[in-house]
């Protein structure tokens, strides 16, 4: 027992001095971002000067909502859709990354005029053979798991078509393993997918060496090697952006639509002492050429939906994809 007492005091409790007030939580938030956020240099953000600007506005008399609003305003300085502050009463979002871009997607137009409300759906994927003998699949979220079995059914059904349109407009991301599952059906050999790195310390430039990662075609499953068009809009974000950054380097793939939303940093989440959670970009994922796509990826063919044509039931981005695959 003589040993226990001094060893118990070995527990280093950094919270002992904390009173969990507004200033403590503001400083905690600022420090977590300072030590873990990965795009300070890439975005040329002076985080110290942001502390200088915002810290004087914090006082312990302010209520939780006022503190939340102030912290949210500070987090907007990071210009990052992956940064969210979550409390029991709200979640902050940085909206500006897509505000200046057209919507470029209308599900009703596609369902009514291209799919005729007659399509198959599985694992979050809507698919059908279009009239032009072109396969169409819409995948709205990489959070929806894709089973290899379902993907075999989808690709077998669409195999007779002259090409495939993969529509990932408004796909806000999800799980990276689903990117692997889907991309792997469109490659015939082990393919460099990109590089991933992570922070190795609290310094703004403390990063690991980029680690190359590869995708491999699954054995015993259907592979698809005809022309492919991937449709994107600004809401194609995070894991969906990652899907585009791999697919666009495949020779049979054309990207059509609007610039993607980016979001190439894998987010980590941490607590604040008051129980709020802060999500932040922590681990940059680079494309196969070593480029960061945090700000988004330009399509091969840039086209917006014609709003007048949309009134007549036309999705001009989808029309363009049909035109490209048809060779017209």
């Amino acid at each position: 027992m003589l040993l226990v007492a001094p060893l118990q005091s070995c527990f280093v409790d950094d919270d002992l001095h904390m009173s969990n007030d507004a200033q403590d939580n503001f400083e905690a938030l600022w420090s977590i971002i300072d030590e873990h956020y990965c795009f300070f240099e890439y975005k040329e953000i002076d985080w110290d000067s942001i502390h200088t600007a915002y810290a004087p506005r914090v006082n312990n008399e302010m209520n939780a909502l006022a503190l939340f609003d102030l912290c949210s305003e500070m987090l907007d300085e990071l210009q990052d859709g992956h940064v969210n502050l979550t409390s029991s009463f709200s979640t902050s979002h940085y909206w500006k990354w897509f505000q200046d871009y057209p919507v470029n997607y209308d599900e009703r137009i596609i369902h009514e005029n291209y799919l005729n409300f007659d399509f198959y759906q599985t694992n979050g994927i809507t698919y059908k053979k279009l009239q032009e003998n072109i396969g169409y699949m819409y995948y709205g979220s990489f959070s929806n798991g894709i089973s290899q079995n379902s993907l075999d059914h989808i690709l077998a059904h669409l195999a007779p078509c002259n090409g495939l349109i993969i529509d990932i407009r408004n796909n806000g991301g999800g799980t990276l393993t689903n990117v692997d599952v889907l991309v792997s059906r469109f490659i015939t050999q082990r393919t460099l997918a990109g590089y991933i790195c992570h922070k190795t310390g609290a310094g703004h430039n403390d990063f690991s060496e980029p680690y190359a990662y590869y995708y491999e075609p699954p054995q015993g499953h259907i592979l698809y090697n005809k022309p492919i068009v991937v449709l994107t809009n600004r809401h194609t974000y995070s894991a969906a952006n990652n899907f585009v950054q791999v697919m666009r380097l495949l020779p049979q793939v054309t990207i059509i639509g609007d610039r993607t939303g980016g979001g190439s940093g894998m987010p980590f989440t941490y607590n604040l002492p008051n129980g709020w959670n802060i999500r932040l970009s922590s681990s940059p994922i680079l494309d196969a050429n070593g480029n960061d796509t945090e700000w988004g990826i330009d399509p091969d063919i840039k086209i917006d939906m014609d709003t007048t044509a949309a009134l007549n039931g036309h999705d001009t981005i989808l029309d363009k994809a049909i035109e490209v695959i048809s060779g017209r």
Binding site: H36, T200, Y213, F268, T269, Y270, N271, N277, S282
Partner: protein
């Protein structure tokens, strides 16, 4: 299925003495396997900066099994000991009571110890070395890509205990303090903000670490009293475990303080032919010097 697996493991442990006993020949002392099963419950405090920079505190429960047997070496002065433990706990942020981290794990230690009589009657000292395996999983409910932290290590260390057999009136008691102190080993820890997804992609650089007291310090303290009733004893005590690592700019510390209660005793498959054989116990007895 899990229940059957548990029963199978327990049966293996309980039947172990009979198997070992069969190895004894008629002219050698019987060496019963000291066996103990304990429940423990108490409090825990933890910090794992991979998950959260803040400390958490809460409750912890566990189950421990202890096996020990004298060895026919150096006039039965040597014993082996196996300690198997599982635990589960639930904790909240110390600063506010918000947030939640649950944790659970297992530990296994095999020790070889030599025992010596001390000048005080009934007092014995055990000292030796051990090899240990530990696994602990922490899950923080904040979600995201880093909700999980996995701890695993294998270590070589020191084991020692002081055992004092005495009587309170007519009631025989055994007081014991045991210390286990890993010295060197190997443990797993991702880098500062490295995701397990990246590790799963094959990036194992700097994932395994050589553990020494410079980056990892664990200690296990057990204090208990066995109150003897016929051939079995009721065990009550205190169990303290401290696990600490500081590597890749991540700090992890788990401190557990638990009260224990259980039953212990020597398992022996008795038969008439063994009537005249001497018995060498691992804990409650010490053979006469030959």
């Amino acid at each position: 299925m899990k229940r059957f697996l548990f029963i199978a493991i327990l049966a293996t442990i309980v039947l172990q003495p009979a198997r070992l006993l069969a190895q004894d020949t008629a002219d050698k002392p019987l060496r019963p396997v000291f066996t103990g099963i304990e429940m423990e419950v108490g409090g825990a405090q933890l910090v794992d900066t991979y998950l959260s920079p803040w400390s958490y505190k809460g409750w912890d429960i566990g189950l421990n099994v202890e096996l020990m047997q004298a060895l026919p070496l150096d006039n039965y002065r040597w014993v082996w000991q196996q300690l198997i433990g599982i635990n589960y706990g639930d904790s909240r942020m110390s600063a506010s009571g918000a947030g939640k981290t649950i944790f659970g794990g297992f530990n296994y230690t095999f020790a070889m110890m030599r025992r010596s009589n001390l000048p005080i009657e009934g007092l014995q000292l055990y000292y030796g070395a051990n090899v240990g395996l530990t696994g602990e999983v922490l899950y923080n409910y904040h979600g995201g890509n880093n909700p999980l932290s996995v701890k695993a290590d294998i270590s070589l260390g020191l084991s020692g205990m002081a055992v004092y057999n005495f009587k309170l009136g007519k009631l025989p008691l055994t007081a014991r303090y045991q210390l286990m102190l890993p010295v060197v080993g190997i443990f797993a820890q991702p880098e500062y903000s490295e995701s397990y997804y990246e590790v799963s992609l094959g990036n194992h650089h700097n994932f395994l670490h050589c553990g020494t007291w410079g980056n990892k310090f664990d200690i296990d303290n057990r204090l208990n009293i066995d109150i003897h009733f016929s051939s079995w004893a009721l065990r009550v005590g205190y169990h303290n475990r401290i696990n600490t690592t500081y590597v890749t700019n991540n700090r992890y510390q788990l401190v557990q303080h638990n009260f224990t209660i259980g039953f212990v005793g020597d398992l022996l498959s008795w038969s008439k032919k063994n009537d005249n054989r001497p018995i060498v116990r691992a804990l409650y007895d010490f053979p006469n010097e030959k």
